[in-house]
Amino acid sequence: MTILWFLFKEGFKGLIRSKYSGVFSIFIITISIMILGFGYVAARDTLFMVENIRAQFDVDIFIKQTASNEDIASFEKKLTQMEEIEHLVYISPEEAAVKFKNEFGEDIFDILDYNPLPPSFTIRLKTIYRNLISVEAIANIIQSDPIVDEVKYRKNFLIILEKYQRIILFSVLGIFAVLTLISITLTSNSIKMTIFARQDIISTMKLIGATNLFVKTPFVIEGTLEGGIGALLASLIIYGFFYVQNTYLQSFFDYRIVVSYRFYIGLFVLGTFMGLVGSKRAIKKFLD
């Protein structure tokens, strides 16, 4: 107990004693956490937008002209029982004709003297099934029903969407990993300056019989505190920025940024982690 309290006090005093290099470490962590925080929200909202676009993805099922009304009714029942389907709309040939007129501005009966438009269903899949693999599988199942003439959906739309989603996701993850590494390295270097300025403590401690753990712990506590403080500062700045955007700038950018308290906890954990790993790496060099 005595020793834990002592080591914690040492770490805290070290933070106060280190002045410039301590402030520098905090500064670096603040900047990194800010970039990561803003980057996270930007990436999250971009992916959210992509998801919104995906939400407008529909599958059209065209029924054979020869199908009777009873067949269509029982087929509709079958569709409603499929758990992949979020909701469905039946479009009769008459409704299709109206839609055709609305879309192309021409009455189908002016061109042909009968209605060639088949009855159809437009279905919307649940979110988790709105991907290429699931859509293809579901389309195949539906296609296998003898009443179905054709299942149509925008395959290319899905392919492109998924490609971009992957690109965004992987580049974001890559940038995050690289940024985290860079910040840990910078933090570690700046903590090394702190330690360098207080090498006398390390050599003295070792001379009087301190274990490496005892020598190391105050510096690691100091680094972790710096990480936590850096993260808190970054959180405050990010919070302030979001607050200003949501309250005063709504009229310029019609966009509300919403983050939960978990986002800030995440930033805090990340900053603390950077300080911890950074200082552990820094002190290693001084303990042989």
């Binding site: 005595t2 004693r17 403590i201 001379l207 009087i208 019989g209 274990t211």
Partner: protein
Amino acid sequence: MISFINVKCTFHKNAGVKNLNFSIDDGEFVFLTGPSGAGKSTLLRLIYMDLFPEKGKVLVRDFDSASIKDREIPFLRRKVGMIFQDYQLLKDRNVYQNVALALYASHYRTREIKSRVYSILNQVGLGHRVHHKPLELSGGEQQRVAIARALVKEPIVLLADEPTGNLDPRVSLELINLLNKINKKGTAVIVATHNYSLIPRVPGARLIQMNEGEVTSIT
């Protein structure tokens, strides 16, 4: 308690120590003398295992330089007190904190730390300077803080490398008297010095003379 068995430890260009064979017993007072570069500091560093022999071995109680593990070295250092010509005190901590540090590092409890630190500071005559920083003290006082720090964990031996190097003759004498007093209480003391005038001040002390890395005479 301390044995050197055929010890050789050299740096590049063959400077260092070699053919060291001797033992020091509990409670002895030993002067280690010889010209500059004779190997006195090297010998002391071998005792607190800051250096390791390339040949032979050094034994300190149960610690064997040939088999000691890195993580056991702190435990050896808690049995061996050290003081240096430049004192090696932490300038941003006061006298109390400098001495207490040794006990914190040896995992003592707070209450015990307090009583031990005050008692040792009184013994070295610094009871009234507890809250001063090292740079507010004279050289002799700083050296006594270093002694207090070395003694507070009750080592079996106190190593002093040129402890009077920066002190005037009168203060040097006081210091030797203090070391003598400590020795009388049972702690072995090894003083490396080229200040030969100190030797007669400790009647009955052993004398190890060195030159060019070897022991030339031993009493």
